[in-house]
Amino acid sequence: MVFAIRIGLIAGAVAFLVLSGLSILSGNAVKQGLQELEIARYRYLVASLKATVEANLSLGLPIQDLPVLQSKIERDRSDEANVRAIEIVGPNDTALYSTDRGAIGDRIPAAWRQAIDDHHRSTWVAYDRGEVAIGEAIENDFGQEIGNVVLVIAEDQVIPPSALTFGLASKGWAAILVASLLTVLSVTLVLLNRRRAIGRAAAIWKGAWSDERGPLKTAKPEPLGPSMETASRNARNTTEQAAADLDRAKRRLMDIDDAV
């Protein structure tokens, strides 16, 4: 009984863990979906800024000599209250134009550089010190990467609050608990059923099985040998026979002793 219950509890714990993991992953899927939608919103802004920058570049001016971009990004920044900063980064990883004018000339954070390298000219996203940077490479007419357009947003604007995505309603917890309990119950019952064969074999040894309760139910033999019940019966028969034989031998020896 203890064995079956213990295994049942372990199986129940497996079900509990898997379902808890599923709810976390499932919540994470929502989080990713929401995040993708929010990023898509800013990706559109980045794409339109990139188009503006590239249109100016096609006039033949170097990116450093386009002060019109500074007013353009400042105008766009004022239209989007959620955007913290917009930057246009030059070829040597320094900010050429920025809505945060103090940042002009600063090198970009290492996390941005890493994201740029990892995304190979597609839209890249970098998470750095509570902010999310969404950027896209600026290319000249020859397809060479000469900089990046970057939007900086507060992380909580893009990543939904964890309470929303990880929170499991009481109904969800009830489902996890019910499934875990059902697992414990089913596994215990199935394993207890397995113990019946032991009970029958044990009864043979205990001598509890009398003929008045009907003939012994013959267990199906295992494919590669006799059942435990049959083996127990054979062994017990031999044991009883041996006890009788030994008693008889003892009596004969005592007879010899008496005769002497």
Binding site: A15, L19, L25, L37, A175, E222, A231, A249
Partner: protein, 625 residues
């Protein structure tokens, strides 16, 4: 009296494990469906809100551009290049179903919409957003935007795929655990007890000590011993009495009479222990399963991680395949080292510990690795150390008692459970996080294992033919699993980890059912079904799920017989060889631009031929063919 391996092949244990596995998968599936449905009801409003915000953002931008043009005095219906502009907007925003620019009377002036897709329309709930075009405080028109609602559908699909993978993982995991437990707590003690009962029935009354396993079966042993003890006591009494009588014998008459009285007893019974009955053997090999799980978690991520180091170019596939192949080579070298190094000793343990720490470091540091070369060095090093230790640990005595299960479980852990867990982990915390977790787990699980390594032992393979076919199937199937890992990770979709986990789950479910069914003759049929499903002209995931299930089934059916006499090292070597072959075949297929269905079928033909010939061969041997 060594007991037979046959005791471990109890059909009832198979059935119990299968029933329990199925029930757990069912409960997880039902409860998970409830959880996901409940979550979807909560998330629908949030996703709709986010979709509307996206629509508003795009609408405002389009309205701004139109306002700018109208500001130059261009009439509404003569705006220059609006269709091209709207096409560009649609192209950069795949979420858009249509964009309409209307005048103040809501007459549609410019309209651009995606071609209607009946399948999409059936699943997606479109979201509509309108943004006014304002000029000098007057509404002069409006931008009407319709978004597909695809995101909501893809989130729901993602959740259902996760549910599928979780149910398969829970069901298969519990089934494997119960089967393993039945081997350890039921089959082996039962074999021990059956051997003692059989000896007892033949008249041997030795004191067969109980197996140390904690098992319900040992109750029988206790009861039997209680019945045997008085018999041994009587035998001792008889023996003392006989000795007493012999001691007073002068002319040999008494001795003759005593011998006559005891003749029957002596011929029928023995009261001393005849031969050493194998005691229970605790086998540390099962612990190696943990290390295999930790070490193979990153398998489905290796190809895509390597490919991403070189970007989207013609080299990406080759680099992905090369990284996976180098991992397989590292594993095979680990096997060779374990086989060649036959001595034990404390120095060996120290070397193992160093190797495991190197593997853990190489895997965990991938978290912050951005270059290809160190990654390509780290993978074979990590694989070498993990498999070197695994192969050394499973050499410990006791593995032959657990055949064929131990080999099947080791392969299943390495080819199904590890990659499945890794895929789910990557889905949750990302690829780099999965590498870090794997590294930590390698150190935590692998370090204690280093102190359990055993010197290599040769195990005789009694039925070579069966072993070969089992190995061939394993290699081919692992090759397919390798391709799934490679393609799933590197080519099909770099972020479809949940889908990849489900693929592996279906492969594992088929494998487990095949193992339990033990009908090798059905393997060719199963493979034919798998090939047929892949050839069907509907390249949807559902068919790939089914095809992988039947492939796993064929593998399990064949292995259930073929691996009874195989050693774990050989079986795992075959699987690793498959992992080496798989990505290389896939790479060849890419280079030759062969259709997916064609090359997968070509790959499946190998085990099909092997199965058919071996099945026909075994029937002929049995006089049936």
């Amino acid at each position: 009296m060594p007991f037979k391996q046959g005791h471990l092949a109890s059909r009832r244990s198979d059935l119990y494990a299968a029933v329990i596995g199925f029930l757990v998968a069912l409960y997880i599936g039902l409860a998970g469906f409830w959880i996901v449905s409940d979550m979807q009801a909560q998330q629908a409003r949030e996703l709709k809100g986010a979709t509307e915000r996206l629509g508003n953002s795009i609408g405002r931008s389009v309205a701004q551009s139109v306002k700018l043009a109208l500001g130059y005095g261009i009439p509404f219906d003569q705006l220059y290049a609006v269709p091209d502009y709207l096409a560009e907007v649609m192209r950069t925003n795949p979420e858009l179903a249509s964009v309409v620019i209307a005048d103040a009377s809501r007459t549609h002036i410019y309209t651009l919409e995606d071609e209607a897709d009946p399948v999409e329309d059936a699943f997606y709930e479109p979201v509509q957003v309108s943004v006014w075009i304002m000029q000098d405080g007057t509404r002069v028109g409006q931008v009407e935007i319709e978004l597909t609602g695809e995101n909501k559908w893809s989130v729901s699909l993602h959740q259902y795929i996760l549910l599928l993978a979780a149910a398969l993982l829970g069901g298969l995991g519990t089934m494997s655990y119960i089967r393993m437990l039945l081997i350890e707590s039921w089959e082996i003690p039962r074999a021990h007890i059956m051997a003692s009962l059989a000896a007892n029935a033949r008249g041997i009354f030795a004191d067969f000590s109980r197996p140390r396993h904690e098992s319900p079966v040992t109750r029988i042993s206790l009861f039997a011993e209680r019945a045997r003890a008085p018999v041994r006591s009587r035998a001792r009494e008889v023996s003392y009495l006989a000795e007493e009588l012999r001691s007073i014998d002068i002319d040999g008459t008494i001795t003759r009479k005593v011998d006559q009285a005891l003749a029957e007893i002596k011929s029928r019974y023995r009261f001393e222990r005849p031969t050493r009955l194998e005691q229970d053997l605790w086998w540390p090999g099962w612990l190696a399963l943990g290390l295999i799980l930790a070490g193979t978690m990153t398998l489905p991520l290796v190809g895509s991680f390597a490919a991403d180091r070189v970007g989207f170019n013609f080299l990406a596939s080759s680099v992905g395949a090369g990284a996976l192949a180098s991992e397989a080579v590292g594993g095979l070298l680990g096997l060779a080292a374990a086989q060649l190094w036959r001595q034990g000793g404390s120095m060996r343990k120290v070397w193992h510990l160093l190797a495991i720490l190197a593997a853990a470091g190489a895997t965990a540091l991938t978290y912050d690795l951005h270059d290809l070369t160190p990654f390509l060095i780290a993978r074979p090093v990590a694989a070498f150390a993990v498999w070197f230790t695994v192969f050394s640990v499973i050499q410990a005595p006791g593995r032959s008692l657990r055949a064929p299960w131990y080999c099947a479980f080791l392969v299943m852990a390495g080819m199904v459970f590890g990659p499945l867990l890794g895929s789910l982990l990557a889905d949750g915390i990302g690829r780099r996080g999965a590498f870090l977790t794997s590294g930590i787990l390698i150190a935590l699980i692998g370090s204690p294992l280093c102190f359990l390594v055993a010197p290599a032992q040769r195990l005789r393979i009694r039925v070579r033919g069966l072993w070969r076919q089992g190995a061939a199937i394993a290699a081919a199937s692992a090759a397919t699993a390798g391709i799934v890992a490679f393609y799933g990770g590197a080519v099909i979709d770099r972020h479809a980890y949940a889908l990849l986990a489900s693929f592996l789950g279906f492969l594992g479910a088929g494998f487990a059912i095949g193992l339990l069914a033990r009908r090798p003759a059905a393997a060719p049929l199963s493979l034919i079904v798998a090939v047929g499903l892949i050839w069907l002209p509907f390249p949807i995931n559902a068919l790939l799920f089914a095809a992988l299930f039947f492939l796993g089934l064929a593998m399990g059916l064949q292995i259930s017989v073929g691996w009874r006499h195989a050693t774990g090292s050989n079986g795992l070597a075959a699987a690793l060889l498959g992992l080496l072959i798989g990505p290389l075949i896939a790479l060849g297929a890419i280079s030759l631009e062969v259709e997916d269905s064609l090359w997968i079928s070509a790959l499946l033909l190998l085990p099909l031929v092997v199965s058919l010939t071996s099945t026909l061969g075994s029937h002929r041997k049995a006089g049936l063919g």
